[in-house]
């Protein structure tokens, strides 16, 4: 049941990215709803959930648009390793800040990868617009949305999962 719900959630997040997010741009940039969804899922449902869900999101987005699913996988890839790294480095940051940081860096990476993909396939090389009109507003948007999505769960008392994998993994937490 949990698996079905998560797949549906990721599907809806992907479709929302293609239909709802473009309707609410800031300076031409938009939030990445699947990224925010996966970041919250990684904390509250465990990293194993996102390990299985991430390729699904890439496929959903790729099938629903003209984007390359492979490029999307590379774009979303740093989210979990960054979360684990921030945890194991024992930085003086709480889980919320670590999640925000991992989400922001992944958002930057994702947009850079997609922009580079566009440039390689014929778009003009424009670093200034990439930074000023894509990366910065996009990350700002991601941070705002991630905060809105994360904090309610925290306020109701959910503590969240560590980023290190438990032995039973995804199936064991059903």
């Amino acid at each position: 049941m949990k698996t079905v719900l998560i797949v549906i959630l990721l599907l809806l997040a992907s479709l929302a990215q293609l239909t709802v997010a473009p309707l609410f741009p800031i300076s031409g940039a938009q939030a990445d709803i699947p990224l925010v969804t996966m970041a919250v899922l990684a904390v509250y449902a465990g990293p194993a959930t996102v390990m299985l869900g991430m390729p699904l999101v890439a496929l959903f987005l790729g099938f629903g648009s003209s984007r390359a699913p492979g490029l999307l996988i590379i774009g979303y890839l740093p989210l979990l390793p960054l979360g684990l790294a921030f945890e194991e480095w024992q930085l003086p940051l709480n889980r919320f800040v670590r999640t925000i940081l991992a989400g922001a860096i992944t958002g930057l990476w994702l947009r850079t990868v997609l922009a580079m993909g566009a440039m390689v396939s014929g778009a003009p090389l424009a670093i200034g617009p990439l930074i000023g009109q894509v990366l910065l507003p996009g990350v700002f948007f991601d941070l705002a949305l991630l905060t809105l999505a994360y904090l309610p769960f925290r306020f109701v008392g959910w503590s969240g999962h560590p980023m290190s994998l438990r032995r039973e993994g995804f199936w064991g937490s059903n």
């Binding site: 479709l15 293609l18 709802v20 390990m51 496929l59 648009s65 390793p81 990439l130 994998l165």
Partner: protein, 276 residues
């Protein structure tokens, strides 16, 4: 010391999967899956769009009274229609002059078939401006066909087709290039999309002025001649410059258009735009 353990295997397998998907995408093996996915999710897309489009419209017009917003939308359509009629009349006048000069040359005319479609997906990744529509090869749509707004302004071209859906690259996509013509200065150039989803009129050496009307030139064979694109909104640079920087305001609000027309009659020649 970081020990990724199972993360290492996961990252490696994801990179492998990415390469596999890239190869499958290049060879067209993903196309059938994309078609099935499109059929299944289009109703959900429509629900999302229908639910949030009014909210987006409301927010974008915040501060305006509803009646003013409706009137504004109506006037925009009317303005675009009238602008296109003026453009058409200007072209007609030019054609008449040319014919009179050439004497006894008769211009043939052909009827066009246009398929109406609804925008269901907006794919705005960095530097790209692509929309998905709810008509595909089943409606006679093919790659390369020209897409217009409901009032006849150029919107883009079809870049991929499934049985019941298709994707359209808008002219504001940074990869889009359209051979175009300035009706007032009678000069040719290339209308190109910019990274911030705007339009420029490049490579034209004539005395272009703000307000000039830009239409497709038909050169290159990818677009029929005479389709309205927009009007010149800014010209920067000096007369010493070889090429001035010309900004074009599209004739239609491309970001909020929900209904488009696909010209299924015109067959593109697929010849690259002219380069200097």
């Amino acid at each position: 010391m970081l020990i990724f353990s199972r993360y290492t295997w996961w990252v490696a397998s994801m990179i492998g999967l990415a390469f596999l998907l890239a190869i499958m995408g290049q060879t067209g093996l993903l196309r059938p899956f994309q078609g099935v996915f499109s059929v299944v999710t289009t109703p959900i897309d429509n629900v999302f769009s229908g639910a949030f489009q009014p909210v987006a419209s409301f927010l974008s017009n915040a501060g305006n009274v509803n009646s003013l917003r409706d009137e504004n939308a109506r006037l925009r359509i009317e303005n675009e229609t009238l602008s296109n009629k003026v453009t058409q009349l200007q072209q007609d006048a030019q054609t008449v002059n040319d014919l009179q000069a050439a004497l006894k040359i008769v211009q043939s005319s052909s009827s066009e078939t246009r398929v109406a479609a609804t925008v269901v997906v907006i794919d705005n990744t960095p530097f790209t401006d692509v929309v998905g529509i709810d008509r595909g090869s089943g409606s006679g749509i093919k790659v390369g066909m020209v897409v217009l707004s409901a009032q006849g302004t150029l919107m883009g071209t079809v870049i991929s087709v499934n049985s019941d859906s298709a994707f359209v690259r808008k002219i504001t996509d940074s990869k889009s290039k359209v051979n175009a013509h300035d009706l007032e200065s009678k000069s040719d150039g290339i209308v190109a999309g910019t990274p911030n989803r705007g339009l420029t009129f490049d490579l034209s050496q004539a005395d272009i002025k703000v307000g000039d009307t830009i239409v497709t030139s038909g050169l290159g064979g990818n677009y029929p001649p005479g389709i309205p694109i927009g009007k010149v909104s800014a010209v920067s640079g000096t007369s010493q410059d070889l090429f001035r920087q010309v900004t074009v305001e599209p004739g239609v609000r491309l970001s909020t258009t929900t209904t488009v027309l696909v010209n299924t009659t015109f067959v593109p020649q697929r010849i690259s735009p002219a380069t200097p």
